[in-house]
Symmetry: none
Subunit: 418 residues, 2 copies
């Protein structure tokens, strides 16, 4: 079973939006052993869609389309499909009920254009939308297209993602006969080439059917071990062998071998240790607190955060001495330490982390360049106060993210050794 | 002159990398009046490339390809082009000199596979690589393809971007005779269908050559007015007429008609008004502060932020009375007001914004469901303390973002009417 992805939308052709949907769908299909052979972005003009859909349906078994199911005039995917397959539309009652419930919650009337979002191609398997109003469809396209499948989904990422997970993936998993196993290896505090050097011999002797991908992200790199085959036992074993070999060589840089984030890992460790957390941020401007509180249930351990952007705030709120700031500068390990210990005292938390640095683009000097970060972790039980200075290179956004990542890595390291 | 973009690479088809190159190229081409009609991602297999290149060259005047020019075995773009056009390759001396200089800098020898990066299709206009080693090419494809152009560039974003800016855009600007103008319309506090209803008559009477796109994002919708034509004066005027008509009908929901963010707009207004800002967050967990400090120079007006996640923190740090929390609950307009005024007092800022709500997935009740947000803006000069309750629908991540967007919208509204 082979697939193609079609992304509909002028905003993609104009470069106003980056196509993240296609990558999500491709990854999801890889997860059930269906390779993607082409990704096509086309305009939202009907005749354009008709030819693109038709070409793809001629080539592969499954064609997944996103975009063009909304309520506005440039949403013409259903119309194009009608024309291509010469089929009518019908109202789907369940989709309409969902639409009506969402509209009434917002106190809105259901206009004709809104109602169109519950109209589906005749004979299609309807994909309900748990995150929005437009219904999706899985359509078996008949003899003209060798009974190949056309899947229509909205372009809003959260809606499409929920549809993929709840309906589309289970539907095609049943139809596919390959077994595939992916194991993510989440690392922290190590770069791509250093990691590659550590595991070069593992990479040189991968079992047949197994691939190892490097997935660099804004602040480091993750690995994905993928094994594909027809026999589940063999696939699982090959995948496991490679994982064990990597863990043996790079274990100290690995924080998870499943799809969890650094924030979630820290959360689990805090809960296990029965410890509470507070943060004191300058250059990260609230990003560390925001990432930590992205985790559901983080109120169990996250008490409070201070964004002490101005020097006055560092002094007034956390008791950082003015003389310290004058002598060493706001961006210094001394101030980072005073922030972390001040936060420990102020919040009553068991562990705190602080950041002070220069995100840029301005504010740097020869001695303290843009990209410089001082951070500190303070642990009440052990009395440890660990500070460190790092230098990064990037624009403001990238620096802020890397600063926050460094703070989380340091927190994790402290929890590991506590 | 019309274009298509082809992105070569298995990592894109597996979803291991998001295709940001295509968006960059599309935006760059739009800037010189060349519309992109399709974007295709294909594998790095030769026969696949040959058919994809050939199909695109049959359809449009310019086909821009990224990827597959590197030194490894899966880099086969030049080979595929040779096969397609039945042409040989030749060494480009300037590209080879660049390659040799970069290699010697790193103390590396030039292997045969490295040297291949300076081999170009016979008769092509060579695009020098100022950021790496692989040479690019602009190839006029002869009569078989109506003298359409094929442009080959590496897949590394920084290398491709430099090639576009230094060579490819100037080359095609000379050949193109169309003018294009895009005007973004950034809105806040309004959904897609409500906005569409407000401006339905504008959409019904768009001048020829002008299109209007809806760009929904996590918390609202932006518009893009695009006009294309041969006469710059006419293009500008048509674009302006549509913009004026939209501003007339929906002006109160528009915060910018250029590429600025809500955070940046708030920053400019604070600087203009000479006012300082502090924030008090519960459910947004630092995200409001983080977004506000994403703006370069935000230290000019952003003093500090408090992430008062626990009830104790709300009381200890901002002086929210325990009785208030007991009587109305932590998620209430009363507590939001006490947080905003407490923050005003504590920080000495001129204006503050507070959030308290239920991001989910748990913690909701019938009376106070997941997605409920209470927020408040307090303004020192006018003495105004404006609170409001909103209900949103989404998962934790989406709710958090929408909560932060609502807080920023309220802040903007307050600054507008101050």
């Amino acid at each position: 079973m082979r697939a193609e992805i079609i992304s509909v939308g002028d905003e993609l052709l104009k470069g106003q939006r980056v196509n993240t949907n296609a990558a999500f769908i491709a990854r999801a299909l890889a997860g059930i052993g269906i390779p993607v052979e082409r990704i096509v972005t086309c305009s939202d003009l009907e005749h354009d869609m008709v030819s693109v859909f038709s070409e793809s349906l001629d080539r592969v078994d499954v064609v997944l389309v996103t975009g063009g199911l909304g309520p506005t005039r440039d949403d013409r995917t259903t119309k194009a499909t009608q024309e291509l397959l010469k089929r009518g539309v019908e109202l789907n009652v369940k989709a309409y009920a969902n639409l009506a419930a969402r509209m009434s919650q917002r106190g809105l009337e259901i206009s004709a254009s809104l109602r169109d979002q519950a109209m589906v191609i005749e004979g299609s398997h309807v994909v309900q939308n748990t995150k929005g109003t437009a219904a999706g469809m899985i359509i078996c396209c008949g003899e003209r297209f060798d009974n190949h499948y056309l899947v229509l989904m909205p372009g809003v990422p959260s809606e499409m993602q929920a549809m993929m997970e709840l309906t589309v993936l289970p539907y095609f998993t049943e139809l596919s006969d390959m077994v595939i196993r992916h194991t993510p290896v989440k690392t922290f505090g190590i770069g791509e080439s250093t990691l590659a050097a550590l595991i070069v011999d593992v990479e040189d002797s991968l079992p047949k059917g197994t691939t190892l991908s490097y997935l660099p992200h804004a602040a480091g790199v993750n690995l994905m071990i993928s094994t594909v085959g027809k026999d589940k036992g063999g696939v699982d074993q090959d995948n496991r062998t490679v994982l064990d070999a990597i863990v043996q060589r790079a274990g100290r840089f690995i924080f998870a071998t499943s799809e969890v984030t650094l924030e979630e890992t820290i959360g689990s460790m805090l809960i296990t240790a029965g410890k509470s957390l507070a943060v004191a941020e300058s250059c990260t401007g609230g990003l560390v607190a925001s990432r930590l509180t992205d985790v559901p249930g983080s109120s169990l351990y996250f008490l409070e955060g201070f964004v002490v952007y101005s020097n006055k705030a560092k002094h007034d709120i956390l008791g950082v001495q003015k003389e310290l700031i004058e002598k060493f500068g706001a961006v210094s390990e001394e101030v980072a330490r005073a922030m972390a210990t001040g936060c420990l005292e102020k919040s009553g938390a068991d562990i705190t982390v602080s950041t002070t640095g220069i995100a840029g683009p301005s504010g740097g000097s020869a001695e303290k360049p843009v990209g410089m970060l001082c951070l500190c972790v303070a642990d009440r039980a052990s009395g440890k106060v660990l500070s460190k200075t790092l230098f990064m290179q990037g624009d403001r956004e990238r620096n802020k993210f890397r600063f926050s990542e460094a703070a989380l890595c340091e927190l994790l390291e402290c929890l590991r050794t506590a």
